[in-house]
Homo-oligomer: 463 residues x 2
Amino acid sequence: MKKHLPLLLLFLSAVFTWFIPHSEQLTPEAWHLFVIFIFSVIAVILNILPIITASLFALAFSLLTNALTPKAAFAGFGEDFILLIVMAFLIARGVIKSGLGKRIAFLIIERFGKTSLGLAYSLIAADLLIAPAFPSNTARSGVLFPLVNSLAHDSDSKVADGTRKKLGAYLMMSSMAGLTLSSALWLSAMAANPVGVAIAKEFGVVISYGSWFLGAIMPISILFILIPLLLYKIYPPQIKATPDAPAIAREALNKMGRVGKNEWIMGFIFLSMVSLWALSGALGINKTAVAALGLALLMAADIFTIEDMKHEGLALETFVWFAILYSMSIQLGELGFMSYLGGAISHAIGGLSWQSTYLLLVLLYVLIHYFFVSQSAHMLALFGLFLEVGIHAGVPGELLALMLLFATNFNAIITPQGSSANVIYIGSGYITPLEVYRIGGAVTLLNTFVFLSIGTFWVLFLF
Amino acid sequence: MKKHLPLLLLFLSAVFTWFIPHSEQLTPEAWHLFVIFIFSVIAVILNILPIITASLFALAFSLLTNALTPKAAFAGFGEDFILLIVMAFLIARGVIKSGLGKRIAFLIIERFGKTSLGLAYSLIAADLLIAPAFPSNTARSGVLFPLVNSLAHDSDSKVADGTRKKLGAYLMMSSMAGLTLSSALWLSAMAANPVGVAIAKEFGVVISYGSWFLGAIMPISILFILIPLLLYKIYPPQIKATPDAPAIAREALNKMGRVGKNEWIMGFIFLSMVSLWALSGALGINKTAVAALGLALLMAADIFTIEDMKHEGLALETFVWFAILYSMSIQLGELGFMSYLGGAISHAIGGLSWQSTYLLLVLLYVLIHYFFVSQSAHMLALFGLFLEVGIHAGVPGELLALMLLFATNFNAIITPQGSSANVIYIGSGYITPLEVYRIGGAVTLLNTFVFLSIGTFWVLFLF
């Protein structure tokens, strides 16, 4: 019963908030949906409910109170990028099972495995380098995740036996944080980036592939150095120095011998998938279809089997909570809540100097991501609005546009649902949603600080 | 390699069929989607691929060839009744885990457990009796399934240790077959039934609650007796007579002692859910919202835990293949394939006597269910068309209307995807999709035979 007291208090607070008089600009549905959404998030942050339970309650309440229509409430389940996450997750199991994951992990350990820190740096570096070819950070996490997962597994850090914190949790969080950097570094590294550039153009702000990269390279170089160190402090791996690891990896590689049949098949399927994902925009191919084909081939080749599928309940759990929160967040936008919030903010900060306006706008843009379950939705809902408010107050257009677009990416780790890339990592069980709120929040703080300080001066110096 | 030869042959046949010249009334997309759909079904029937693999291939091919748009291909995942299946499935685990399932199972065994046959009869009888209060056979299967599952578990017939055929498989198949009867017996036992009655009215055929029941009671009484016997022959349980079971159950009940806390909570949640499901139509409540609330409460009460969720990969598998096949079947309708098929049939059977027309129409209506992944979609697509053709050829309207509406229900076990009720049983692993094609096909044959013979004379005699 003790455990259920905070739940009861939270529920009563939600009921109380429900009946607070709200602005007339908001429909009752918008207000009610907001109350349900925000209290679900609070339940997770305060560790009162696991994210799946909070999401199921949110779904039930918003349907039973007609804050959501069934069609809108279940729309997220039919979003292809969410299914891409689920399938990429299952494919990652195939990478491990085939033995290919083990081999690549050993090759990385042989090279960089003397310290956990070295492994984290090598993972993020790899991400930064492949990012320009991946116009979707979801697809990119589908490539990186199996690697990180294999590295953890083969360092005897597993979820099932309670050793996730030995190494796996640290590496997963590092790679998740790395994705915020790789997506912010290249115009072509995240689906919404080019859309943002197009919107900026409507305000007379022209951002080229080169100017984006130049603007981002300085703060991101600094963050590339700082983030693994920060996580090493606040989310430390239990294994730190592993001086013998490279030798052990070399031995293990020798023992593994030549590349086996399943590894060849897995490697072929995986490389084909990666190529098709990278070319999907140009060829007009659906990324989820590519993943479905890859998974079907893995199953036909008995690399990922029906028997394996039975143990993938976490993929279902992740699918369900993410789809629910995504649907709710999209509806908050549709019902006008997001633009109301944006309008209220722009009203509140009127009359300040452009420097203060700039700082406040970027800070608020970052924090508002607590409400969004998609980087693209956030950008589409608020980027134009914030840009207009800022330019109107005298903030240099290029500076503000670049910084808001960078922020669209570097704030992605602020919540578990903040990016679909996060979801695939959390689905592994190595990282809990609550840890993302805490540790991911700290990373977002560091990202924001570096971008707003050094990043701002760098952009002003450049252009 | 040997294993992959049939797959290659099937693939080549599909490619060949793809390029066969087809009627100009069909768009290329409709033809292509049909080819992909039908060859996926064949792959499962011939045991070349498991249903999940076949479905993933079908999804990938239909997207990559533009036979389906992404929106249409993924629509099934956002259908609330499909999510209802997933949630009902997880809730059923809670029924077992709480101990309540065990207790009720023992009570049933104590009463009817001397033979496996007796258990099968008692399950179907229970279904027939509760059916009029459940306007959704999906929701009803959500009530029955946990019971059947508990009965199997507590008779030491489990999926994990390879003993599913001892008793569980037989009981599950019996209950699935029973659902075809209970849905056909009452106008209010399946969502599409009242819709069909409304359509019939447009043709001047008035069907009342009473005339529906009277028309169905005779063939269904006979099938109620025959079906458990048929399954006993062709899909026998390994345990047949269990003369000591009632005594053992009584002893186990004594050992269980008084109803525990978790059982009370589970019982309360379950009864509330069942009541809300039964009243959902009248109160305008979304059934899936009710299930989500029930599941969330079970999780908050630690009856169904995150740890349990990890092992529910089969629920994910079932969700994925069913949603894919459902989306494809709906699109076959949208693209005009179904009405083309109906038109071709009515054209082909023109000029026959009304008796032959009647027989052919009902038989075709039953067989066409191979293409449908929803009883409602089947009824909506073809009932009116078939009724028109038949009445035009002189078939008595009331006879044909009743029989086609009965068939909408009694053909539901012809394929694994033929009814959402099937899906929840198959998701347990006790029954394989291939077995449904074989054994469910035999049950459908028996259903059709009894309805077309005795059922026809009975209806003609009555009205």
